[in-house]
Structure formats: C-alpha cells, structure tokens
C-alpha cells in the first residue's frame, strides 16, 4: 500500500482567513481508494481545510504544500482543481435562484468534459443520468427543474450536494458535514451514496461529528483536527473513543507523543 502513489499529499500546511491563522501545520497523505474521516471540535478548521484545498477566494496559504496526483494544487485556479477531480460537498450549500439544477449540473459536467477534451454530453443522455442520480439520493425528479438549492430544506440541500458528486464522478470527494442535521434515513442515503462510489482510484475525506455515519461508511483512517492541525490519527475505532470521551482529552495532551504511539 505504501508503494502506491498518493492522490493527495498535504505537507505542513499553514493557512489564514482575514489574517487570522486557522491551519497551523497540517499534514495528511491520501492514497487512491482510501476513505479518511476527519473529526474535531467546532472551529478547529475542518471547513477551512476544504476551502483551502478547493481554492476559495479569501483563504490564504501561508506555508506548506499540497499536491494532487503529483501536481502542485496551489498552481491551479479553483475551477481547474475541480476539473482535476476535486469535489467539495458544502457544509452550507448556497442557493442560485432561477438557475435550474439541471442546467447547472449539465454546465458543470460539460465544463469538466471540455477540460478533458471530450464533447458535451447530449441532453438526452444527461437527463437519463441525472434522473438516476436523483433517484439514488432519494430526491423527486422535479428537483432537477427547480433552482439550485432554491427553497430546499436542509436535508434536501445535502442530498443535492451528493447528487452533484454522483454526476461529476470526482476523484477526490470532500464531504463537509454532509450528515449534519439529517435523520437516520437520510444518513443512510449519504452513506450509500459514498459507498456506491468507493472504488480503487477514488478517495474521500469525510468531515463529520458523528460516529454513526462512520458505522455505515467504515473509514480506513480517522483523524482528529484540533486548532488547525491533526492531533491524532487512528483507525475506525478512534471514532468510537471520541464518541465516548469527546475531544477535550486530546487537546490537553501534547499531540506529538500521541502521534508517535
């Protein structure tokens, strides 16, 4: 496994927003096919990590490096990173009134196809795929005609994010609390969505507060992000420990020693 080339390598990353240091020396290595869960207290920098990786304006990289498939991620524009296979499911999806989901999704898929030198997908083919994706995430087909997230409930927005992932077929999926605020049925939809997409060359970063999602998804690794860096890493059992004990015990201890063990 260690011989396989990494999909994503984050080395000693420092990043800030509005001159406030948020990420403080974060390192993480993800190989193709792996599922990494990231847990950690509110305000630790989990969403910031997703934004920095995907290239949101206003998030400044101060130090460190990130490569995606060996390429320097920070040399790429936001949309180029997306076209290179990086996908972020937003913690708080935004509405785009008047732009139908279908129109938005087709434009996205076509932009990515164009970048790969492929022709635009035909409307008929796309509609077929979009309907199937709708069905998979348990959204009525009518949602394809509605404005992007326009008037969707919290849960519907999250499922809509997942639908976008299914259609874009990214290589690296970052799910930012996609399970928050979902009931148990919706949670299973998310888990099944992820599981159905797991493959030898697709990797996931799953940000969550809840071990119950990880019961369905079964991550290869669990990391704890606290105060801008990873303070503990382990296997799936770490999630259970965190569920039982919270994060406080980690924050108090010197992280270095823990990581060695």
């Amino acid at each position: 496994m260690s011989n396989t080339k990494s999909l994503l390598t984050i080395e000693d990353l420092y990043a800030s927003v509005e001159e406030k240091q948020i990420l403080k020396g974060l390192s993480l290595d993800i190989k193709p096919g792996e599922v990494h869960a990231i847990m950690g207290p509110n305000g630790a920098g989990k969403s910031t990590l997703g934004y920095v990786l995907s290239g949101r304006d206003g998030y400044a990289v101060d130090d460190g490096s990130v490569t995606l498939n060996g390429e320097d991620l920070f040399e790429m524009e936001t949309e180029e990173r997306a076209r290179a296979g990086l996908f972020l499911a937003f913690q708080y999806p935004v509405e785009i009134p008047g732009v139908s989901n279908l129109e938005f999704l087709k434009a996205s898929v076509d932009a990515q196809r164009e970048a790969r030198g492929e022709d635009a997908i035909t409307s008929a083919d796309f509609l077929k795929e979009a309907k199937a994706a709708c069905k998979q995430v348990n959204l009525p087909i009518s949602f394809l005609k509605r404005g992007v997230n326009e008037g969707f409930s919290g849960g519907e927005k999250k499922r809509n994010e997942l639908m976008q992932m299914l259609l874009l077929k990214p290589q690296l999926c970052i799910l930012d609390e996609t399970d928050s605020g979902l009931d148990i049925d919706a949670l299973q939809v998310v888990a099944e969505g992820v599981n159905s997409q797991r493959s030898a060359d697709r990797s996931f970063i799953v940000v969550t507060h809840y071990q119950r999602l990880l019961d369905y998804i079964k991550p290869d690794f669990v990391h704890v992000l606290s105060d801008g860096k990873i303070v503990k890493s382990g296997d799936a059992s770490l999630a259970h420990e965190l569920e039982a004990q919270g994060y406080a015990w980690l924050q108090k201890e010197p992280a270095e020693d823990e990581l060695e063990g």
Partner: protein, 489 residues
C-alpha cells in the same frame, strides 16, 4: 444583504477591474456615402426634413407647432443620471445613405454595403436567409432601408411600413393617432421628437386579425454627430393581436450621440400588443467616453379588455431614460411591464414604467430586474396610479436589483397614487449580490468565472426572459453574456 459582502466585494472588484475592456461587437462603422444635414436646429431645418420626406403640409405644421412648444420647455433633471448639457445646435438632424435617395424598389436595388451592415449585426434582410416568421423594418440613421415580407403581411391586411411612407399612404390613420397617446407637449424629448422625427415603423392590424408573423424594427445609428429620432406607431384594431420586436445598435464613437424616440401603441377593445425591445446602443468605453444618450418615451393606451405588454432588455447606451407605460383606460384592460436593465462601466440607467389605472378591474404587473456592475448606476422609477373610477383595480410590482462588485449602485423609486380605496397595490423589492459563495460553488463545480456570472445573472432574469419571443430570449441571454464578458476575471 449579508455582512460578509463587504469582504467579498473586494475580491469581486479585483476580478471586475481586470477585464472591463470587453469589446462592443456592434461597434463597427459602415462605409456608406451619406447625405447629412449640417448640425443645427431651427424651423428651416424642420422644413427641410419634411421636404426630404415629401410630407404633406399638415405634417409639417404639426412638426412646427411641436418645435415651438419645445423651445418653451426645459430639459428635465429629475432622473438619477448625470451627463454634460446637450448642445442641440451641435447635432445633425438628418442623415441618409445617398443610395436611398432614389427609393430602391426591391432588395436588389439596395446598396449591398447596407445589407452587409445588417448581416454583420445578425439580421439578414435577404428573405431566403431570414428567420422565418419575422418581418423586419431596417432603419439606418434617418431612413428605413427595407421592410421585408410586406406582401405576405398585406395578404392578411396588415400594414407594416416606414412611418414616412404611412404619412403619405395612410394619412387618415396617422393623422388620427399620431400624438394621441404621447401628446406633443408630453415632455422635452417627446416634443423634440415630434419636431424632427425622421423615420420609424408604422403598424396597423385590422379588426379580428392575428398578425401572421412577428414584426420587428432594427435601428442602426451609423453617421457621426447625428441624432436618431425615430417614431413608431402601432394600432391594433378590435380583437387583433400583434407581437413586435425592436433592436438597436450603433458604432463605437468617442462622442456622445442622442437618440430620442417616441413609441405610441393603441390597443382597441380586446386587442393585444406585445412589444419587446432589446436595446444595445453603444454604451461608451470604461471611462465613460462616448456612447448613446437614450431618451425615450414609450406609451400605450388600452381600451376595453385590451392588453399591452412591454418587455425590455436594456444593455446598451451611456445614459438611458425610459419609462414604457400603459394607460389602462378601458374596463378590464391589462398592462404588463417586464424589464431587465443591465449597466456596467460608467453606464447610467433610469428606467421603469407608469401604469395609469382608469377603467374598472384593470390589472397591471411590473417585474423589473436591474443588474449593475463596474461603476454603473441603475435606477428603477415606477408610478402606479389608481384613478377614482378604477374600482377593483390591481397592481403587482416586483423590483429586484443585483449588484456585481461594490462600486456600482442600484436605486428604487416607486411612486404610488391611489385614489380608489377598492384598488389593491402590492410592491416587493429586493437587492442582492452575485455572492462570493455562489461564484465559489460554480467554480468548484468546474465553471469558469464568466460562465458562472452569466449563469447567475440569467437565472436572476428568468422571469423576464420567459416573456420574450423564443428567438429573442436566446439572443437576450447571449447579449447579457457578451455584455458581462470581462465583468469578472
């Protein structure tokens, strides 16, 4: 509006600044030899215009009386637009391609350079190449070059011709209706137009007739220092129906040019007129140099159970001052106004509508979408008046503004005058931004920033675009896309 926008504005502005130098695609000049009057305006100029047009005496008298009124009037200054004082003596009031002097009888006789001009603008005038189902009147500076599909329209009894021709061939109709909706003294620019109008379109739809095709006029200003004063008169007789489109462009020039049009619509009992405009006059450069001053008076009158619907997509002009209005005189008549007004660079637009409810159970709907980018300013100014006799009248107004960047402005001035307690007036207004979050979502999915903005803006305009005839809706979407090109990096 959210607090984080202040921060967002910073990033967006940077992107906007980067590329505001978009090309105005219609900015070319046609090499056509023209006969142009010396600049200046007095009664003799008006006499010469009337002479050039071979007008009857009554028309000249009408023009002169308007001119005398105009001399007594003051230029209005209440609109939220700012431009140097216009020197009306520095403008030429007539310009026509020389080749038009002998009145070409058919397309074969029209100067190929003129035909090429329209072709370049995407309006082929050769019938075989034309969009089926749309008849075009092409107005070049002060004259109508050609009106297509006239035979087919005549079969249906529809009159569609240059107004200069209608004055001679259908004087009874012109005499009866010209100035009946927009009186000569209505306002400063309207009075000026009455005095010096040169050409425009005339439409008459007979009783009970559904016009068999879309009618459209395409206005082009080519000559330098020339004002365009066109005049359009559309009469829809009882129970008839017509859909009319208007498009406009001008070459890119450093001097400002004046365009002061008057459009009058008459919808008799149970008639319906749908009037759509895509206005893309040259807006001037990013520093506000050049561009068209677009001062337009458009008004329609609705008799019993008639309906007038104005749809406009305004993307051009340096300064726009325009309020297409409906006088809902007949009981149960309906007025509609759907508008998208986009300003960028240093453009200024003060536009809106007036709905005057006179008859019982009259209904009006106003949907106005303003988009501002760069250092531009867009204002919506609308009046809804319910007269004492307008029992059961209703109005619904929705004004939405969308800001791109943080150096532009959007303003809303709704005026409501209700003199009938049974009338119902509803007004909704919103202001939003193309947010950093929306841009980020689009780009995260792989869309480039320009596609993202144009998609967001198109979504914002959806309610208006769906009112446009199909071919125009596509064109309007594209026009917005081109107009926004360079609005983001």
């Amino acid at each position: 509006m959210c607090l984080f926008l202040a921060k967002v504005g910073f990033y967006m502005t940077e992107q906007i600044d980067k590329a505001l130098a978009r090309e105005y695609e219609a900015g070319f000049v046609s090499d056509v030899e023209s006969e142009t009057f010396e600049p200046g305006l007095d009664e003799s100029v008006i006499q010469r215009i009337s002479e050039m047009k071979g007008e009857p005496e009554w028309m000249l008298e009408w023009r002169l009386s308007a001119f005398r009124e105009w001399l007594k009037m003051e230029e209005p200054d209440w609109a939220l637009v700012d431009y140097p004082k216009i020197d009306f003596q520095a403008i030429s009031y007539y310009s026509a391609p020389k080749s038009m002097k002998d009145k070409p009888k058919s397309l074969d006789e029209v100067d190929p350079e003129l035909l090429r001009t329209y072709e370049k603008l995407g309006i082929p005038l050769i019938e075989q190449q034309m969009l089926a189902g749309i008849a075009v009147d092409a107005v070049f500076d002060s004259v109508s070059v050609v009106t297509t599909f006239r035979d087919k329209l005549e079969e249906a009894g529809v009159i569609f011709c240059p107004i200069s021709e209608a004055i001679k061939k259908h004087p009874e109709l012109v005499k009866k209706y010209i100035g009946s909706v927009v009186p000569k003294k209505d306002n400063y620019y309207a009075a000026l137009n009455c005095a010096v109008f040169t050409d425009g379109s005339f439409v008459y739809i007979p009783k009970g007739t559904r016009c068999p095709m879309e009618l459209s006029t395409y206005f082009r200003i080519n000559e330098q220092n020339t004002g365009q004063f066109e005049r359009t008169l559309i009469i829809a007789d009882e129970g008839s129906h017509v859909s009319y489109l208007e498009g406009c462009t001008a070459p890119q020039r450093d001097e400002n040019q004046l365009h002061a049009a008057v459009v009058e619509l008459v919808a008799m009992d149970n008639a319906e007129i749908k009037y759509s405009t895509v206005q893309n006059w040259y807006p001037g450069d990013e520093n506000g140099k050049g561009g068209i001053y677009n001062f337009v008076t458009k008004r329609g009158i609705c008799h019993t159970s008639a309906k007038i619907s104005w749809t406009q997509v305004e993307t051009g002009s340096a300064v726009t001052w325009k309020y297409p209005s409906c006088i809902l005189k007949g009981d149960n008549s309906v007025g509609e106004f759907y508008s998208v007004a986009l300003t960028r660079g240093r453009q200024q637009a003060d536009t809106g509508t007036k709905m005057i409810h006179i008859g019982k159970n009259t209904k009006s709907t106003i949907i106005a979408k303003g988009i501002s980018a760069g250092k531009s300013n867009g204002s919506y100014r609308g009046l809804v008046r319910m007269n004492p006799g307008a029992d059961g009248a209703r109005n619904f107004t929705q004004c939405d503004s969308l800001l791109i960047g943080d150096q532009c402005g959007a303003h809303t001035f709704p005026y409501v005058e209700s003199r009938n307690p049974s009338a119902i007036i509803e007004h909704e207004a919103t202001t939003s931004k193309v947010s950093d979050e929306q841009m980020f979502l689009c780009r995260q999915r792989g869309l480039d920033p320009e596609k993202a903005v144009s998609m967001i803006v198109n979504g914002f305009c959806k309610e208006v675009f769906k009112e446009l005839p199909m071919e125009f809706a596509v064109e309007a979407g594209k026009l917005l896309e081109i107009s926004l090109e360079g609005s983001v990096g």
